[in-house]
Symmetry: C2
């Protein structure tokens, strides 16, 4: 109920997800409004039930306070369903700060996790032309971080990457900095780097400091079997800057392309011929296909969607939720945190 | 002499700059090698003289130490020429940390400047289709900053923007954060924001927190006369992340485009028809056209170029150096720092 245009796109996205992915969905929110939306769509899929909740956490609400005071808000009620095991994951386009607060207050952190993080995937392209995905975290749960938190994010990110892509093996993990050399970075980053390069057994390969471009095309990939990075670790402030800058640069290029095409007859004809090519390219960089971001480190599967998500994006987010729930992200994180304790043990 | 492929591209860039921009150039470095390069180019332009320097600061050198110990390095000697008024600007593709150290040690800071910054311009596109430039600083001189430093960067950036574009009037200045709301940002950013919104007379319009995408296309431009941002202020760590992420995203899109075009006959034909369109687009985003970045806040004009700059980029950097020298960036900064003292006076 808390998305920018809720609950229209949310209900349509759920209907699409039931049809496309065969999931079963509990729609939590104002029952009359949800029924109206379903009637408008002339949809009554068998796998979709409504659970009434009388309150709404809005985008303007202060997250912690709203989660505590609005006990019958659609968001909080949905999280309670997950806590009680009546649902296996929660997906929402609502206030992302409140999603984090619900994750912490209602579900709680998994054993050993200092701070949950938000993971989002970015498209990558290897030099041999292979298209893949790089998981970046934290995307905004923690504006400021401690070295231990960043070291833990490497473990969380690697665990996500392996469940997201079962063929992966050992994920390649980098720490985002302003240069590759060990002398670069802030004090925080140099301390996190010191933890991550400890000679202890790991499920992933830590490659050291990486730079912004390495998220998309890993500069040192030849030294790592021609592979792109699977995980890039950063604090929530910098993660937000990376996301917004990448989207901004892509938008600028798209708009410049359209502007130049419009101004030329040859350009228009060329673009017409290229339509299928441009569509295939669009599929790779399509942010709607990834659906949402995973809140990782809490005792449950939580997918945070953009406030203005389309039905298609919401359906994709639900598919991601099911993938992570079926793969067992929570027990996998608990086990991975225990296995990698030596990375940060005396430091925390 | 300190660029990655020096002195070949440097000499060729200088020859091009003399021809294109009619500047007079002192080539500082190993005289026999510079003469060899000039002979190879069969160039002896009248405006180009050689000043011998026996040492070289390399990319591996520790900046501060190298600048102090290599007194006859090409970089240090070039800075000395500027300090003595025998040259009006210095341009180099060498070790950028050493460039900063030379700026501080040889030229010194301008009155009132706490820390010099590095300014680089990014292409912008307004909703009405106007292409412009946004100056981002700091691009790496200061990995960690104080609130006063960021407030001063707003003044430095606005001064650069006005000299770079004399038609500008009052520059629009934003502070890069992870959201527009005043509650966003780190403590550093909220303190810098508190300084910049002080009700004191300014030569620029401060718009508050902005996000990564606003560097390219300002989201709130309608509220500001349909204009894009002229200046975005950030610390040197985040500035580096913005630059590398934007370049990485653009590269990814370019490579995906080429990959998809190669795989399709229609795509190839379309791309052929679109060549002039793609070339015009390329001109807008061409990083070689901006040449280099300005080290602002020191007593002289200093342009820092990429270590692997092409002759074309070096010629463009020389044109930028002349522009800033002729426009009088150093006296303009001194006057602006004095005029805007009230922004940070009791806080520093």
């Amino acid at each position: 109920m808390g998305g920018d245009h809720a609950p229209g796109p949310e209900v349509a996205g759920c209907v699409q997800a039931v049809r496309e992915h065969g999931v079963r969905i509990v729609l939590v929110g104002d029952e009359p409004r949800l029924r109206t939306e379903l009637r408008r769509l002339q949809a009554a899929p068998p796998g979709l039930v409504i659970h009434h909740a009388s309150e709404v956490i809005t985008m303007r609400d202060a997250p912690g306070q709203a989660v505590r005071s609005k006990r019958d808000s659609s968001m909080r009620v949905a999280f309670e369903l997950v806590r009680r095991g009546e649902a296996q994951a929660v997906v929402s386009c609502g206030n992302s700060g409140a999603m984090l607060a619900c994750g912490l207050l209602v579900l709680g952190r998994l054993p050993g996790v200092e701070r949950p993080g938000i993971v989002l995937t970015f498209p990558t392209l290897s030099r041999s032309g292979r298209i893949g995905q790089c998981a970046l975290l934290d995307m905004g749960a923690n504006t400021e971080c401690r070295p231990v938190t960043l070291a833990q994010f490497a473990v969380l990110g690697a665990t996500f990457a392996r469940l997201h892509n079962p063929q992966l093996g050992r994920p390649l993990v980098g720490l985002l900095s302003n240069g590759e050399e060990e002398s670069k970075g802030t004090e925080l980053l140099r301390e996190a780097h010191a933890l991550l390069r400890r000679p202890v057994p790991c499920d992933f390969d830590y490659v050291g400091f990486v730079e912004g471009q390495d998220v998309f095309q890993f500069a040192r990939q030849e030294a790592h079997g021609g592979r792109c990075l699977d995980v890039v670790v950063t604090d929530g402030f910098t993660g937000n800057v990376v996301l917004k800058t990448a989207e901004g640069a892509a938008h600028l290029l798209g708009d410049l392309f359209r502007q130049q095409v419009r101004g030329s007859l040859l350009g228009r004809l060329g673009a017409l011929l290229m339509l299928p090519t441009l569509r295939r390219m669009r599929q790779v960089i399509d942010v709607e296909r990834r659906g949402g971001a995973l809140l990782i480190g809490v005792a449950g599967v939580v997918i945070i969607c953009h406030g203005r998500s389309s039905p298609r994006a919401i359906s994709a987010a639900i598919a991601l939720a099911r993938e992570q729930a079926e793969a067992g992200i929570a027990p996998a994180v608990t086990a991975a945190m225990e296995r990698h304790r030596a990375l940060w043990s005396t430091a925390s």
